[in-house]
């Protein structure tokens, strides 16, 4: 399907880009979400403002505190490649490489993935399919087809990066049309509304994200549920970031190497967690930071009982709508499995 007609603009600076933008325009970064939605006639902006030529939006640099500053138009491949060669950031690279496919990561950007629109099996369809059931709330209609009689949109926020970045306490810098900059936690970018998932005005641009340097004993795990090992959007995701004490284990079997293949039998013992940040993603219209899960894990040594408690807590925190490629029952049943796998990663 061809793209709808638009005028393409290529500003050279963030300020210029903001000044060009209004409700009839869209910012184009990697194009892997926007152009697909435009081909499906979900969006038809009159002006497309390309961000690729803005140098300020590109690149990875160290902050004064040894954290990372990542330009929003840095591609997912660039950040994953950089992080994989820096040990303290390598687990972030593993998370990024679970996003989409290698080809799409070559085009897709960090900012674009964060600013991904919400998705729904009743919304992300070609016009001919959508015509069968009529416009939903997100398309300006009066009904939610995913949850009957619902007055709010249940489209799922399906970005992969937001969960990990919130777990790493990342902040985002937004440029506003008045030429100002504001900084906020990545978690506060999201409105929780399926129709407008991001709290950005049409003339505001995500400029960069900052990720604080993780404490030396940090471990991080992003567990993503999807049907295929590539390409797919998450059906659910669990991010777990924590400082880990690995005590000198004197338990029987401590000399046995821990199995590192995925599976229910791998060990989840032998680590004590501090300052844990647990984030769910692709469970609803926004990623979900769960301080109560962090509190549950605080100072506890990981064992089977804790895995069960965490799984139950996470499962209770979400309510799935039946609007992704897999059924809600399956997704819900997998939440404790993902939680357990994340805890297992803490014990490696």
């Amino acid at each position: 399907m061809t793209l709808p007609r638009f005028e393409y603009l290529a500003p050279a600076s963030v300020e210029e880009a903001c000044a060009l933008a209004d409700v009839d325009s869209a910012f184009l970064a990697g194009g892997t979400d926007l152009l697909v939605c435009m081909k499906q006639r979900l969006h038809a902006p009159l002006r497309v403002i390309g961000l690729a030529g803005i140098a300020e939006l590109r690149g990875i640099a160290r902050t004064d505190e040894d954290g990372l500053r990542v330009g929003a138009a840095t591609t997912l491949t660039e950040l994953a490649d950089w992080a994989s060669t820096h040990p303290e950031w390598a687990s972030l690279s593993d998370a990024i490489r679970q996003t989409s496919s290698p080809l799409l990561r070559n085009a897709g950007t960090v900012g674009g993935n964060l600013c991904l629109d919400t998705r729904c099996t009743f919304y992300n369809q070609p016009p001919i399919f959508r015509a069968r059931w009529g416009p939903c709330l997100k398309l300006g209609g009066g009904t939610c087809h995913a949850v009957r009689r619902s007055t709010s949109c249940h489209a799922v926020y399906s970005g992969d990066l937001a969960g990990p970045l919130i777990a790493w306490s990342a902040t985002a810098t937004i440029a506003t049309a008045e030429g100002r900059r504001r900084k906020l936690a990545v978690n506060d970018l999201f409105t929780g509304e399926g129709i407008h998932p991001l709290g950005l005005g049409p003339d505001e641009i995500l400029v960069e994200i900052e990720i604080p340097k993780p404490p030396p004993t940090t471990r991080f795990s992003y567990q993503k549920l999807r049907l295929r090992d590539t390409l797919d959007f998450p059906l659910a995701g669990v991010s777990l970031f924590a400082e880990v004490d690995t005590p000198e284990v004197d338990a029987p079997g401590a000399d046995t190497p821990r199995p590192d293949t995925p599976g229910a039998d791998a060990s989840v013992v032998g680590a004590r967690l501090h300052g844990a940040r647990v984030v769910l993603n692709a469970t609803g219209p926004a990623p979900l930071l769960l301080p109560e899960a962090g509190a549950l894990l605080e100072g506890r040594e990981v064992d089977e009982a804790l895995a069960v408690e965490l799984g139950e807590l996470l499962q209770k925190s979400v309510k799935f709508a039946g609007n992704t490629a897999a059924g809600s029952t399956y997704r819900k049943a997998m939440i404790p499995v993902l939680a357990r796998r994340a805890l297992r990663d803490m014990c490696r």
């Binding site: 793209l3 007609r5 290529a10 152009l35 390309g50 989409s100 496919s101 390409l231």
Partner: protein, 167 residues
């Protein structure tokens, strides 16, 4: 309609395009490089993959106007002086082709992989190629062909490909 200049397969082309035309449509319909295939047109199948400044990209999700000033290589640009690229030869010899529709995208993605990793493991090949779908499901032979192409590249047999990836 604006006139832009595209650098495709080491030659420069002046071509009139509309802002909303994709690079894939311009390559195929305006310039005749029909080796880049239109499969899903939504970035899911990889059949339209081309090299843009050495990186494998899906041309259905790139605007033609964005591709100005960049070196674009399609499957037609891999052969040099009448000799096929080592990967093309390998796909041919191994029989890594069934209907052939995914093949140009597969070979371009593999060329980019070998450009940054001349000796990939089987898992690395599978990971790198995972955005290219073969609906005939001939993946075993495709992986074998990439391994063979990599080996041929190392011995320098029948290849000009390494220079293409670097261009």
């Amino acid at each position: 309609m604006v006139e832009i200049t595209l650098d495709v397969n080491h030659s420069s082309y002046k071509v009139g395009v509309e802002d909303h035309w994709t690079l894939l449509d311009v390559l195929r319909d305006s310039l005749g490089f029909t080796g880049a295939k239109k499969g899903c047109d939504h970035g899911e199948c990889g059949a339209c993959t081309v090299l843009i400044d050495g990186t494998a990209m899906q041309s259905c999700l790139v605007l033609a106007v964005q591709a100005q000033g960049k070196a674009i290589v399609t499957i037609e640009g891999l052969a040099r002086d009448g000799r096929m690229d080592a990967l093309q030869t390998a796909f041919h010899e191994v029989g890594a082709i069934q209907c052939g529709f995914c093949t140009p995208g597969m070979i371009i993605t593999a060329r980019a992989l070998l450009g940054r990793n001349s000796d990939p493991t089987e898992d690395e090949i599978k990971e790198a190629m995972s955005g290219n779908l073969c609906r005939c499901t001939g993946y075993v032979k495709i992986v074998e062909a990439v391994q063979r192409g990599a080996a041929a590249g190392k011995t320098g047999a029948g290849t000009t490909g390494a220079t293409n990836a670097d261009s």
